[in-house]
């Protein structure tokens, strides 16, 4: 391994500009003659707009234009599209109500967009927006999933009876019932996977521009996937062809999923820029982000597990209510179904599984993918259920897991819920996790904790996830309205340096470093000679972007394929110049050598020859060294791992402290260990946030009570321990780099380990369950309730 190749701990090249304030974020971009947009938003969760008078706003100082829902309804534009169609049990398609850029008739959540004011300055736009007089007839609101399906619940959309978006199922119901008929034990659990607000550090920004002389539109936006935004916005909303629409997502300050989706503001500023012939910038403030960025999770699940007399899992049945929010965000319908229910086998041999998911509309911010997206919900359910099963059957929680693990020799393993795991060694990962966590030393640490008057618990999570999203054929068969390949173009310049154009998008992942490591390693060129270009549809070939831990597993595979083509072409050139047969050329360490001779050309020499082709046989050898590849994965990739958490609980206050956290993950080949560790740290911190801190709360009127950091608790440095992070890599993943994806494992594996630990700590007090987030009051109340019983 070289010091900069695959496997090397290379410092992130992008950090120089990020840490010195030289990043180029969307709000850093300004266009000549720019105007500013302010969006007037609904203060009500559910209300009819009975009148709207914008005349005073139109006349306000500095105002260029005011657009309302009526203007949008009259314009030749579409609504925001949904990218994934789910079908009901009876085969009919899901309810898909319209999602207009600005609403004209009825607002459906606090923050719903009602009007857009465009002015010379941001303050003028905001001042004018305050002069818009909107009369609302307020309606009763519904925010909770279980309330949404009750008779008489307020109806969010006329198109969705009983607020139901879809009622979907997966698995063999009859086989599952047979399993239950044979069960020695039936273990039941109800879990709520709490709604979380993603809160990327950089709020969303959109800047639309239009060139009257060419008819070209440009949108600068905070996106994880600019080509997808170009396609969705161009084809479905504004009817603009790709060659007249450029979308640029420059440096982006975190997304965690929330910047995958196509948002109304992007289409609004682009559309209005065309109307006005002036650039329009919209910048979300933090308060706006709380009520407009898609939220995550919000599932309510009942599950039952059938177990035989030996502790083997026989069958699992699961029923989930999933909150879609007020409208369908871009990929929302897929989260509780194909990204969640398909993982219900976990790492276990449960032979029969039946799952049903009912998705509901409520008067809340739309819900979509947030780091993990469906898989944290499933890992939380399964690992909480397995712990409860251990308690109910009296089988130790480590032993129960071991009895039910899928064994490595069973690979590839077809689960009863559609997925086929390609490689994995769950027993080995589990043993590595127990060892790294010093699991056998827990009792000693517990005694020490108890000597200080506190309680200590240990929790285990042996999770699996499916990422590297996704084979297009599979996704298409399941309702995706997009392919899920990735693209790469490797452009070798005449003196041998390389520009990699990738369809992936880096918004914190460090692609400029890891991807350069891959190219440098494969082509044998210096790491410093590779630059990574991404995020601009005018520069980069069509790509699907970054989410679902897919950038290296899918995007990296495209890079690998493009590099293979480069090596093939360079081999042809070297063979020609060295007057040897292609088959005799060996490529190693950046040199093309005629086998068995000292005749050799360096990669740079071949590159120069490619662009100075004085004696090329033009009928068989083209000049140039510039290749692209599109890679469509053969399968998902399946990271797995063992997370072990130890908590200390103060029984007097309910305060939970994460005392020790160990994550041993199988993520396949590691390209940059430092970036991998950082990804796991960040993911686990978000898991700690969901498990202990982040509670999104709506009141009965649909007002978001946790609408700022004063009430929404994000994890901070003093909420997290020093982590033990290690990899137990099992090679053989179904992609050429044999990588599995690491972006989400921390957020998927950690919450159940944390809550299992809290429940374990509180067991002596009679507590059987604790809900997320396990805030001090929640824990204290659980103790009071248990002691009152």
């Amino acid at each position: 391994m070289s010091e900069t190749g695959i496997g090397a701990r290379v410092k992130r090249v992008e950090d120089q500009r990020f840490l010195t304030g030289k990043g180029n974020y969307t709000d850093d971009i300004n266009r000549p003659n720019q105007t500013y947009a302010f969006i007037l938003r609904s203060p009500h969760a559910h209300a009819r707009i009975t009148s709207l008078d914008a005349s005073a706003a139109q006349a306000s100082e500095g105002v260029v234009a005011v657009f309302t829902g009526k203007d949008i309804a009259a314009a030749e534009v579409g609504g925001l599209p949904c990218g994934w169609q789910i079908h009901n049990k009876d085969g009919s398609p899901m309810a898909e109500p319209p999602h207009p850029m600005l609403v004209a008739d009825k607002v459906r959540h606090v923050g719903d967009q009602v009007a857009m004011v465009i002015a010379e300055t941001r303050d003028q736009a905001r001042d004018a927006a305050e002069k818009i007089v909107v009369e609302y007839e307020t309606l009763a609101a519904v925010t909770a999933t279980d309330a949404a399906i009750k008779d008489g619940a307020p109806q969010v959309h006329d198109e969705a009876a009983l607020n139901t978006c879809y009622d979907w199922e997966l698995g063999d119901k009859a086989a599952t019932e047979e399993g239950f008929a044979k069960a020695a034990h039936v273990v039941k659990i109800d879990v709520v996977n709490n709604r979380i607000i993603p809160n990327a550090m950089e709020p969303r920004v959109a800047l639309g521009d239009y060139d009257r002389s060419t008819g070209d539109y440009t949108l600068f936006t905070t996106s994880q996937n600019p080509h997808v935004i170009r396609l969705l916005m161009g084809a479905f909303v504004l009817q603009l062809p790709e060659h007249k629409l450029r979308v640029v997502a420059p440096d982006v300050g975190g997304g965690f999923g929330s910047k995958i989706f196509h948002y109304a503001e992007e289409a609004l500023v682009t559309w209005a820029a065309g109307k006005l012939g002036r650039p329009i910038k919209w910048v979300s403030d933090r308060s706006e982000a709380f009520v407009t960025d898609a939220h995550g999770r919000d599932h309510r699940t009942h599950a039952e597990l059938a177990i035989d007399g030996d502790g083997k899992f026989l069958a699992l049945r699961v029923s989930t209510l999933a909150n879609m929010g007020a409208y369908l965000s871009t990929f929302a319908p897929a989260i509780p179904t194909y990204l969640s229910a398909t993982l219900l086998a976990g790492v276990y041999t449960t032979p029969a599984i039946y799952s049903e998911v009912r998705a509901v509309f409520t008067n809340t911010v739309p819900v979509d993918a947030v780091r993990g997206a469906g898989r944290p919900e499933t890992s939380y359910l399964l690992e909480r259920l397995v712990d409860r099963a251990a308690k109910q059957t009296g089988i130790d929680k480590t032993e129960l897991r071991k009895r039910n693990f899928i064994q490595p020799e069973q690979m590839p393993y077809q689960t009863p819920v559609a997925l086929q795991y390609d490689v994995g060694d769950y027993p080995a990962v589990f043993e590595a996790g127990l060892a790294a966590a010093d699991y056998s030393g827990f009792e000693g640490r517990k005694a020490e904790t108890e000597s200080r008057g506190k309680l200590r618990g240990v929790g285990i999570s042996t999770y699996i996830e499916a990422c590297g999203i996704a084979p297009s054929a599979v996704a298409g068969a399941l309702g995706a309205r997009a392919g899920l390949y990735e693209s790469a173009q490797v452009r070798v310049h005449p003196t041998g340096s390389v520009t990699l154009f990738t369809g992936s998008h880096s918004h914190g992942q460090g692609h400029e470093t890891t991807f350069a490591q891959v190219v440098s390693d494969l082509l044998g060129v210096p790491f410093e000679a590779v630059v990574v270009s991404h995020g601009d549809t005018a520069k980069v070939q069509f790509g699907m972007g970054t989410y679902g831990s897919r950038s290296l597993a899918v995007g990296g595979a495209a890079i690998y394929k493009a590099c293979e083509k480069i090596i093939d072409k360079a081999t042809k050139i070297a063979a020609h110049i060295l007057e040897a047969a292609e088959a005799d050329i060996e490529f190693k360490d950046g040199n093309f050598t005629v086998a068995g001779t000292d005749k050799s050309m360096a990669f740079g020499e071949v590159a120069l020859a490619a662009y100075v082709p004085h004696n090329f046989p033009h009928e068989t050898l083209e000049p140039g060294l510039d290749e692209n590849a599109f890679y469509d994965p053969l399968n998902f990739s399946y990271p797995s791992g063992c997370h072990i958490c130890e908590v200390e609980v103060d029984p007097d206050t309910g305060v939970v402290e994460v005392a020790k956290f160990t994550a041993v993950d199988d993520i396949g080949r590691v390209v940059n260990p430092m970036i991998v560790e950082g990804q796991v740290h960040g993911g686990v911190v978000q898991g700690i946030g969901q498990a202990l801190l982040e509670g999104c709360v709506y009141d009965d009127e649909g007002q978001l009570l946790t609408g700022s950091f004063m009430d929404y608790a994000m994890p901070r440095a003093d909420n997290v321990p020093f982590f033990t992070v290690a990899q137990k890599s099992v090679m053989g993943a179904s992609n050429p780099l044999e990588v599995k994806g690491v972006g989400e494992v921390g957020a998927i594996g950690s919450p159940p380990a944390i809550i299992n630990a809290v429940v374990n700590a509180l067991e002596p007090l009679g507590v059987e369950d604790v809900t997320m987030p396990a805030t001090p009051m929640t824990v204290w109340q659980a103790i009071q309730d248990a002691q009152a019983r």
Binding site: T653, G695, D711, T775, P776, M777
Partner: protein
């Protein structure tokens, strides 16, 4: 934020007079509450009378039997003051636990006391130590100063100039923080003073900072955590929000009081 006039007087008298002549003026101390409120367009004063230009309002001195802290002294200065650390270490520790470093370097004692946020820390210290709040017009005992949520005995144009804290034989502050804002859900300041034991609580009550006489009496004869351990604070009249119910707050008052007494030694 709406536009406003910024005034920078160089004396307390000029500040008071500027406020009197402003249409809808507000004194600006550290601005840790006022400025965010204005940025959210929830307040729109016509004038901000900025007290930062008055040099006389900054400084900490040893008064022999205690400390005197001028109104515009920052929390960080109080936390780092060797005088405060020596005379009333609990007060220095309390100041060092307010907000975050940015807040501690901008926020001032006068601003905090005048604002009387029901979850702020300084009011508990003032009440717990029996401080005297000195203004450009008079001296007000802490027991008479804090009159309710965000309410004080201050008149419209009255400016706090300093706060005088008598040293205590023993004192400590224990705060149970809101997990999000890190304001006090319950903060208890206990002190054994020349005039007897004092127990002041912030964060808990619907009436703002206040004292718990039952605990003070119990501590009078027996300064120990055990003395208050069985005192059940009634939940009636305590705040309830998404972070803490009234019953939980009531429990925390006793718990934090015990811990403060133990910490005071």
């Amino acid at each position: 934020m709406y536009s406003f006039n910024h005034q920078l007087p160089n004396s307390v008298a000029a500040a008071s007079s500027a406020l009197g002549s402003a249409d809808d003026g507000k004194f600006l101390a550290g601005g840790m509450t006022l400025l965010p409120t204005m940025k959210q367009r929830l307040a729109s004063p016509s004038d901000l009378i900025d007290l930062a230009g008055i040099g006389d309002l900054v400084g900490i001195s040893d008064s022999g039997d205690g400390v005197v802290i001028k109104a515009m002294t920052t929390h960080a200065a109080v936390a780092g003051s060797s005088v405060v650390q020596a005379k009333i270490p609990a007060l220095a520790a309390l100041a060092g636990g307010i907000g975050d470093p940015a807040v501690r370097n901008r926020g001032t004692i006068g601003g905090s006391v005048a604002n009387n946020d029901p979850a702020a820390d300084y009011p508990a210290a003032c009440l717990g130590l029996g401080a005297t709040i000195v203004t450009n017009k008079r001296e007000i005992g802490a027991d008479d100063f804090f009159t309710g949520l965000f309410e004080t005995a201050l008149e419209e144009d009255e400016v706090i100039t300093e706060v005088r804290f008598p040293a205590a034989q023993k004192a400590a502050y224990q705060k149970f923080e809101n997990p999000a804002s890190r304001y006090a859900i319950v903060g208890v300041f206990v002190a054994q003073t020349a005039g007897g034991a004092r127990v002041a609580v912030t964060g808990a009550s619907q009436d703002g900072v206040g004292r718990i006489s039952e605990m003070e009496q119990a501590l009078g004869g027996n300064w120990s955590a055990d003395a208050v351990a069985n005192i059940d604070v009634p939940a009636d009249g305590l705040n309830t929000d998404i972070h803490a119910s009234a019953a939980y707050r009531a429990h925390l008052v006793t718990t934090m009081a015990k811990r403060a007494i133990a910490a005071a030694g």
